[in-house]
Every structure is written in C-alpha cells, then in structure tokens.
Amino acid sequence: MYDSMMLESIKEVEKTRTKRLNEEFARLTADEKLELLHNFHPDFRDDTQREVKIGANKGEKIPHEIADLLESKSLLNPKSFDIINAEHDVDVLIIGAGGAGSAAALVAKESGAKVLMVTKLRHGDSNTVMAQGGIQAADKTNDSPMTHYIDVVGGGGYTNIPELARALTMDAPSVIKWLESLGCMFSKDEDGTMQTIHGGGTSRKRMHFASDYTGAEIMRTLRDEVQNKEIETIEFCSAVELLLDEDGKCGGAVLYNMETKEYFIARAKTVIIATGGSGRLHLAGFPTSNHYGATADGIVMAYRAGAKLAFLDANQVHPTGVVYPKQMIGQLVTEKVRGIGAQLVNTKGEQFIHPLETRDVVSSAVIRECEHRQNGYEVEERQYAVWLDSPMIDLIHGKGTVKRELPAMFKQYERYDIDMSKHPILIFPTLHYQNGGILIKENGETEIENLFVAGEVAGGIHGRNRLMGNSLLDILVFGRRAGKAAADKSKNSDVKILSLKHVERFHKQLEEAGIESERTSPMLLPKYHK
C-alpha cells in the first residue's frame, strides 16, 4: 500500500500521462550512450573491481566479490582427500539442473550417453525459472538470424565472440520449435502464430513468451521431460571441485551432499558445468533479482582447473528492480512491462530515457536521474527510485491488459495491496545477469579437454551486454550444443588417473602471490542468516 507522500508523487506522474501517451522520447546517439555508460554504469566505477592476482586471467580486472572467491582456498585438502572410490561412473556429468543443464541432459541422453545431473538445490532451481519476459528468435517473415545477430552484437558493444553470436541466432528458431514439440505452452494466436513483442534493443518484435511465466514454463516442461526420460538427477548435491588427470583432461568431480555434508566422487568421461550466474554475490552492493543459488560456483571450479574467463568485469544491472514494497526489494519487474508501453518517469512526471534502449543504457539513465539530477523519489534514506508508469499499458491496449499479460507481476504487487494497473511502481536498477563467464567455443567446449560449459556461467556470447530474451535462448542453444558435444566426446574419451593436483598447484599459487586469507570457495549458498 502506498503512503500519502507516494500518492502525492503519483499525482505528478498522472498529470502528464495523457500527454506522454503520444510522446516518444528520442533514442540516444551512439556517442550519447557511451557517455552515459561511462559516467553512471557500475562497471565503469573505479571502486568495484580489482586485478586478480593468480590464474588464467591474472592481471585482469574482475569485481571484488568474484575475485575474492577466485583468490580462495578449496573446501577440500587436496593432499589428503581420498578420490579412489567413485560412487558414480557415467558418460556425462552435468553440474547444475536449471535450463541449460536440463537441456544438455535431454540431448546427451538422446545421443546415447549415460547421464548424471547434480544440483545443489532442487531440479529447476535456477534463474531460468524466474525469467518472465521472453525468449528471442528470428522466425517471423520480416526477421532473420542476420538481423538478430546485428541486434546482439550492437547491444553487446561489438565485443561478442562472433561464432558464439552466430550459433545463438542461427539455432534460435530450432530451439523454439523444440520447445513447441515438447508441449511448452507459448502465447499464440488462434492459428498457431507465436505472439511476439519488442524487448530492449531489438529491431524486430521477436520476443516469444508464455504469459509472464516464460522461464517457469520452459523450466517445468524441461524438468517434466527429464523425469519422463528417467535421467538420473541428484538434488541437494553440489560439486565443489573438478577432477583432472595428469594430462589436464577433466574426468569427473567431487560432489557434496548439502544435507548430510558428505563428499563423494563422480567419474565421468565428460563434464558439463551449468551452474548459472552470480547475482547473490551482490556485486557493488546492489540488490539482486537472482535465484538463491546464484553464487558463481562453476567459475571457481573451472578457474582452479585452469579455464579462462571472459567479460567477468561486465555485469548487468537490470533497470527495473523493485524498490517498494521493501519485501520485494531487488526482484525484477520484467522488461515486458516496458515492451508493452510503460514509460519511465521521474518525480516531475517527465520521461528521461526511451524505455526500450538496451538495459545498460536504461539503468545508467535511472542512476543518473536519481543520483545526479536528484529527480528520484526517496523511498528510504538514500534509497531513490523512479516511477515505472504501468497504468499506461491498460490505456494503450485496453482495460485488463496488465492483469492478463503480466499475471505474475500483478499478483506479486497485489499481495501488498498495490494495483499496478492503476498506480505506477517504484523501481531502481538491480543486479541481474553475469554477462561474462567461462570462455567457450561454439559447442560449449573449453580449453580444458572434456570440460564443457553452458548457460549463464559461460562467457563470450553476449560480449559486455546481453539483450533481454537472449538468456533463455542462450541456455537452450548452448545447453543443447554442449549436451550433444559432450555425449559425442564421451564415446572416445580416454582419461587417466584422476587427482586434485591442480588444486594443490592453485593453493601454491595463492601462497606465492601472498594471499593469506582463510577464505574458502565455492560459496554454495549466500549467508543471509544471523
């Protein structure tokens, strides 16, 4: 429920609403965008990052919170830990059971591999399940993978690895077709045509969606199918280290039962890391929209094994995170709200940015509006926000649209007696997505033989900035590719005796670099308890 001061501020928004209905805020030029980013995006702040002292990315800047985890000791003592007895011996071990892991599992199984999938929480616990907005694919007649590609690399600041962006956009239609064939309930017209809308930075309406439960619908469909296919999945079981042989080839992992606290070993001919993102590290102190388990575990394990990371200094703050009610702080207000007409408005009732610029640009503009121009609403001491004018949606598309098109969002606000179809909502950027990750090639391979990576934990696809709807796409494109490649590779993979020698060497490097912290990683879960 809004208090009287908020209701006063809302009046300013309402005053200009009719006028704004026909007002399109000018899009920024390339130079204006750059200036805005450099002045206000947290990626460019001096105090958020440092040079990492050891490993394959030594000397490169990485956010403090991630660098802390990389410059930490293993949870295991590599000298004394017994890895002789393997409880599991499989073709493909998949670490993480969100969208990427589940897609990989289905394809690996279909390719004839014996698959084991482990996840530190439940099957489906992931950022995938929270993705509301949609999934991009250029499958309409006015669109093409080439047009999609140009949007992707333009949005990514021309830093994307071309072959990865190519795979992303060229596989997109077949990924949607695959989901359709699995009985994923997309929002469609009567004749079966996919309903598609714009997202930030798209030049065509190519955002497919399933109401505003897109990720949840995809995840529950994939999980149901993994269960139908009887793929072995162990829940509440994380991986804490990879196992390598003397040639540096990956051949399994040390697993950890989150509930009984026991360690055990899984041998595998190939391993796929699909552990997701890192929002729960709260980079630069931002609240996050991420799942409880988004703690960068895969990055830590792979880095110790010698993998190269890319673009980890680029982290996406999503422009519209909830600021009020405070119980929902950090949660995402899907970009679809802007996609179907809501504008961003300051306390004077003015627009200050085109609502469908790319996320980095819109976030920077909101930060500027609040921190520099002082046109934000002060929700709590030093916690500013701007208005997202959601009632415009019903004015544009007809009464009942908000409730019909954004049922999840509507329901969440309704729990706190806020009707977002009648009143605008208070937002500020929230930490949303790890743009970079473990550097991959187009089939999910890494520089470590037998080790594959897919999903948010991978880096290079989106360059420095991902567009809305390309993450649900990426996890499926590269999940499927990694699943196939790992299954194929497992048929002629020869791994020698496994060890944790690489962890021993890593500990030695920590010592040599003078890092004397008692920190251990991976983090597995954030510490929110007293």
Binding site: M170, P173, M194, E259, H291, Q327, Y528
Partner: protein, 225 residues
C-alpha cells in the same frame, strides 16, 4: 518509514522475536536459520517455500509462500518444502489431449470429492478444484489454461483428502494441450527449414566476418519495427 516494531512469531512452535516488516523467509533467516530446503528463487516463481500457518484469531489453516508474505503477530508456521507425490512417466507422442490419457496416467482424478481444500490451499490463488473438475470432464484446454500460473509447490496435494496430485495432472494437461491441440507455428517450421537447408549460410557468414565499423554502420542504421 520508521523502524519496524518487533513481534513474536512461532517457527514450528518455537518463539522468536522479529521485525514486523520481514517476509516469513527473512524472518527465519533473522532467527538464525540457514536455509537449504524451503528457499529457492525468493521471488515467488519456484515453489520451494510453501508454508502453512495459523494466526490466533482464526481457526483456519492458511497458506502462502515464505518469500512472498510478511510475518503476522503470533503466527505459527511450518514450511512444507517437499511432499511425496508420484509423477507418472509418459511419452508425450503416445498420448492425446483427452480424458483417456489423463485417466490412464492418473486414474485417481475420479476420486475427487469436490471439497475445495486444494483451492483454499493454493498460494497462487488458482481454482484448483475447478480445474480438477475440468480434468474429470476431459476438458484439457480448461485444465491447461486454469492451471497455468501453477508453481508446483505441492500444497494442494499435501491437503487433498482424495490423495490427488493436482499439479502433475495440470502439467500433463498443459503439455498435451500445447503439443496436440494448439496449432503449430508455421513460420517457425519455415524458418527452421531455411536454416537447416543452409539457405542463410552465405548471408550470415558475410555478417559474422564483418569488422566493428561495418557492423556499427549496420546497427546504427537499422530500421526498427
């Protein structure tokens, strides 16, 4: 906004004093619980944190998601992060979107007594009993559409006197409906075929090979639908 006042809550019967503006999940953490079960997306989408509670002024059992509801004075609660349920395995291609399919996999749907406890126990406010009634009628479309907001937390099944697993019936119906009733998207078929046949390879290769300046030129001058 001032400092929130402190209130008593009872976590599985044990009293803790917590600020009154916390969610149930935050209140558990405030009380010292490190959650492994009963915590997932923290945003109301994943169904990990189904919670059952009572307040002193009401004899009724209430439900909610721990991440989505604010604590109430003197509430007593327990999370139900898991409840036993048998999911039937099936090949989606071998079943139609009809009553015999539902009856073959979940014959117990006919045991529904229409008590509406499932609906009252749904934190998503889904009309669970109504979609179960639709299932018994074989109206797969109605089941699919009415159950769409289901997060599969399992609270409906936990309280059902007829021992149904409503949410598994619902996902079966949704998948059968989307697969076998809704028409396929022809544009999807066409575009995938074009790509598979390599008809776009030349064009995409040209763009993939472009340098930054060339791409920038295309991007800055692209037309926006």
């Amino acid at each position: 906004m001032g400092q929130a006042k402190m209130i008593d809550i009872y976590i599985m019967g044990k009293k803790y004093e917590v600020p009154s503006d916390l969610t149930v999940m935050q209140a558990m953490e405030y009380s010292g619980y490190k959650l492994i079960r009963g915590c997932g997306c923290r945003g109301g989408f994943c169904g990990a944190c189904g919670t059952v509670y009572r307040t002193p002024d009401d004899f009724r059992i209430k439900v909610g998601l721990a991440c989505q509801m604010v604590v109430e004075k003197d509430m007593q609660f327990i999370q139900i992060p898991f409840f036993p349920a048998n999911k039937k395995k099936y090949d989606i291609d071998e079943f139609n979107a009809d009553l015999p399919s539902l009856m073959k996999l979940y014959p117990e749907i006919s045991r529904c007594v229409g008590c509406n406890t499932c609906t009252k126990g749904c934190p998503q406010n889904i009309e669970v009993m109504d979609y179960m009634a639709a299932a018994i009628r074989g109206d797969i479309e109605a089941v699919a559409k009415m159950s769409f907001d289901c997060i599969m937390c399992g609270l409906c099944a936990s309280r059902c006197p007829a021992e149904e697993v409503q949410y598994y019936v619902a996902i079966l119906a949704r998948r059968l409906f989307a697969k076998h009733v809704v028409p396929r998207a022809s544009h999807l078929e066409d575009k995938s075929k074009e790509i598979e046949e390599g008809l776009l390879d030349e064009e995409i290769n040209k763009i993939v090979a472009m340098n930054k300046e060339e791409l920038k030129n295309l991007y800055d001058n692209r037309d926006i639908e």
